[in-house]
Amino acid sequence: MTVGELLILLALGLPLFAALVTFAVGRMPDVRETLMLVACIALCIITMSIFVRAGAGDPPEMMIAQPMAGLEFAFRIEPLGALFGVMASVLWAINSLFSIGYMRGKREPSQTRFYMCFSLAMFGVMGIAMAANLFTLFVFYEILTLATYPLVTHKGDAAARRAGRIYLGTLVGASVVLFVPGIIGVASIAGSTTFTPGGLLPGGTDPAIGNMLLLLLVFGAAKAALIPLHGWLPAAMVAPAPVSALLHAVAVVKAGVFTILKVSAYIFGPELITALPAATWVLWVAAATIVIASLVALSKDDLKARLAWSTVGQLAYISSAAMLPFATGLAAGGMHMVVHAVAKITLFMCAGAIYVATGVTRVSQMAGAGRRMPVVFTLFLIASLSLIGLPPTAGMWSKLLLVNASFGSGEWATAAAMIASSLLSIGYLLPVAFRALFAPPTSLAPDFVRPGGTPGPALVAAILTGIGCIGLFTGAEYIADYLEPLGAITLLETAP
Amino acid sequence: MNAIALEASFALNVALLLMLVAIAAAIAWTRSLVAAILLMGVYSLASAVWLVVMDAADVAFTEAVVGAGVSTVVLLGATLLVRPGPVRVDWRRAIAPAVLVVGVGALLVLAVSGLASFGDPSSPANAHVGRSYLVETPNDIGIPNVVTAVLASYRGFDTLGETVVIFAAGIGVALMLGFGPRSSLPQPPVQPGEHHVVLRVTARLLIPLIILFAFYVLFHGDLGAGGGFQAGVILAVAPILHALVFGLHATTAAIPAGFVRGVAALGVLVFAGVGVVCMANGGGFLDYDRLFMPRVEAMIPPGLLGDPTHSHNWGQHFGILLVEVGVLLTVSSTMVTIFYGFAGRATHDVGSAR
């Protein structure tokens, strides 16, 4: 067994191991959580080494089984996947830290099942990141869906079960009715589903079929929450904050957009995307999604709901990036995926921290809360800036590249939508932090419901990601270069 | 097609068919179950006559024995058990079937328009395989009754299946009616039929004759109409008659139900066993030419069957006889099992003569 295979097995095995351990020692919370953190750290190391190897040009590969001709169950790392893997594992580690604080702080029931599903979800994510073909990706994609279902329904009350039904119904339904036929269509045209640089489908594919397949696959990946398949995302807000963080930053939605990026880059390839009118249709849908989502977010008073809708918008950025015939779009999309992940997880952890500390969920009640917990709201401010795309945060670069790419490819509508939504996001994000931090002290400021305010681990986690938001501002160039193999053209040439 | 030959038989054929149609209409019409059942018996008898006109002697025999005999008895037994009222007729529920029937009938008429006309000797059905049976039988089998030859040798596998079907029916009836609370009959309070002196005398006289006749039919099978199946049913009549006259209790005492079931299984074993023996001697399944080992075959003096050129017919003869015996065993015992099942369910008064 080569080193690469060993790495892959470890990357897959560690989350499973974590799940088993959690199940085994569920009785003893301390042991359970220590072991989980250990697994997280180890996973981070593994993914990073994979990242390095992939960058160095000998990507690990592994072939598990071949159920049918043209249907392999195999793994192969490429830059985007490696990046996704690192991002997911690191954020998972941080998120675990946060959730430990959160769950203990809120004394949530049945934490063992919670952590188990958490680890299983991470197993799914690792599989998605390293999948060598559409089939393998699909398998782990569904594992992820099923593993996160109990997390969404964690509360167990009627509302939670209803949300869970929407969640499962939308995701599974979309993948059965749209995604699977899409995969099979690809397989029956190309004879396999392997991700191949430059596009698996032959250039001469009949446009009609190409359009159909593209639409099937893009909308089949309902985790990307393009309108009209976005309904599950706000509904899933009933879940506790760490779950929301996982869903919206690390695992689920990112898996969706990641799938779309992979499909665009490795199944269709820039040329075919350029040729297909369906790409433009998707772009329009994405643009509409961006604007609509931002407007809705503006109208929401519940903080988590607001964040959720902003996520819908931000995901649409990445989806449209994947559809930009201009190959840099892919790089930009990959980069925005990471940046948004970091920023959004910070926001959610802040929201969770606020909730644990004060029990407040509505924006209108947070006026002046910043006096009591300045750190949290400062972090919130930083993350907001990153999301809006202002220096000195990483968001700036990714948005710049995105707008740039869409201009460069003459997609004015997309560009306009992005700019507009950035302005709108100023409107729905900044006031939260400002009102909390700089509002005059009033008697309305919420009190701590929990002695000691924010639990320590949660705070630490938030700080880490907050630093990440700024740190990526400097590291952006590196990421962009790392992702370069995706597109044919380098950053410098993209200037209009 | 030959005018003189056809007319007489054709007129008879038409008359009998019209008669059958009339009887069928009566069956559909009547409200009384018993009437319907007896009409079924009449229908079977009439169709048996028609079958004779159609040169299907064996089938006529079987139809008479089964349709008019066994079916009627079983139907009456069941009716006795369920004690139904008059059949209710509801016009609303009769419409859909009528439509269905008309549709299927139209399709059938369309279908028969594709068939050769009746009695045509050069029609595919009569020209191809059917004729070659007539031609080949003297060589391959060497018995006069071609129907028996085809039944027991050429298509012996079908007959094995048929035997198994009967066996399965026996199993089914035994599973349904052979067990449970009322399966064991109490001794009837009064000796049944003690005021039926005439019947008992007649029965004593008849039962041996019936058995004798059954074996006559069995052994006569390859010369004329008859064979294991008909013989089996006839043989089964003996115990049934005994039970009707002397009471089921006496009969089960003489021939226990378990024993009868065993015999049914035995019959299948005999039939299949013949096939296995043929395989053991290097032939195919049911290949009677290999029924005997070559050594035994060699011992048979040539010409013993009149025809020195086909000494292997010896094997055919014995094979056919043995499988017919197997059929006889299974059929007769299954018929008795069925009778036991229905009669055993009933209260004692079935035992008395009716």
């Binding site: - | 299907a56 139907l75 209710r88 059917g130 071609v146 029916a169 349904m176």
Partner: protein
């Protein structure tokens, strides 16, 4: 019209079969249904037999050409016909359908016996053999 004559047997058999089918589906009485079924099956047998009839033929039991009955039979037919369709001087009907129908009849009686035994058990379990009443009883049961 000629068709009606040449195919009279088939048409009559169709009428019989359809009568059986009608009886089977039109009544709710289980025993009457079994009667209809038996009628249907028997009539199907008649179709086969009609297929196997050969004009001027006799039962497929070998008789020597020089025996008196063979002579009597041959006397009614013209020699050319006998020569063409006869086997060694005698015209026989087709034995194959007879064999098939022997089997079919047996299957029919087997079905009849099993069906009636089930009907008896139904009577014992439900107290009726009318389909709609059974349905009524079932409708009252849990899990339906």
């Amino acid at each position: 019209m000629n068709f009606v004559v040449t195919h009279f047997n088939y048409l009559a058999v169709i009428v019989l079969m359809m009568t059986g089918l009608y009886v089977l589906f039109a009544t709710g009485n289980l025993i009457k249904r079994m009667i209809g079924l038996a009628l249907f099956q028997t009539s199907t047998a008649l179709l086969y037999i009609s297929l196997g009839k050969v004009a001027g033929g006799t039962a497929a039991i070998k008789i020597y050409p020089d025996s008196p009955e063979a002579q009597a039979l041959a006397a009614q037919l013209d020699p050319a016909y006998v020569a063409q369709f006869g086997v060694s001087g005698v015209v026989y009907s087709n034995p194959l359908p007879h064999v098939l129908i022997l089997t079919a009849i047996v299957v029919g009686v087997a079905t009849l016996a099993v069906g009636l035994s089930i009907a008896v058990r139904i009577r014992e379990a439900y107290g009726t053999i009318e389909a709609d009443e059974i349905e009524a009883v079932r409708a009252r049961e849990p899990g339906e």
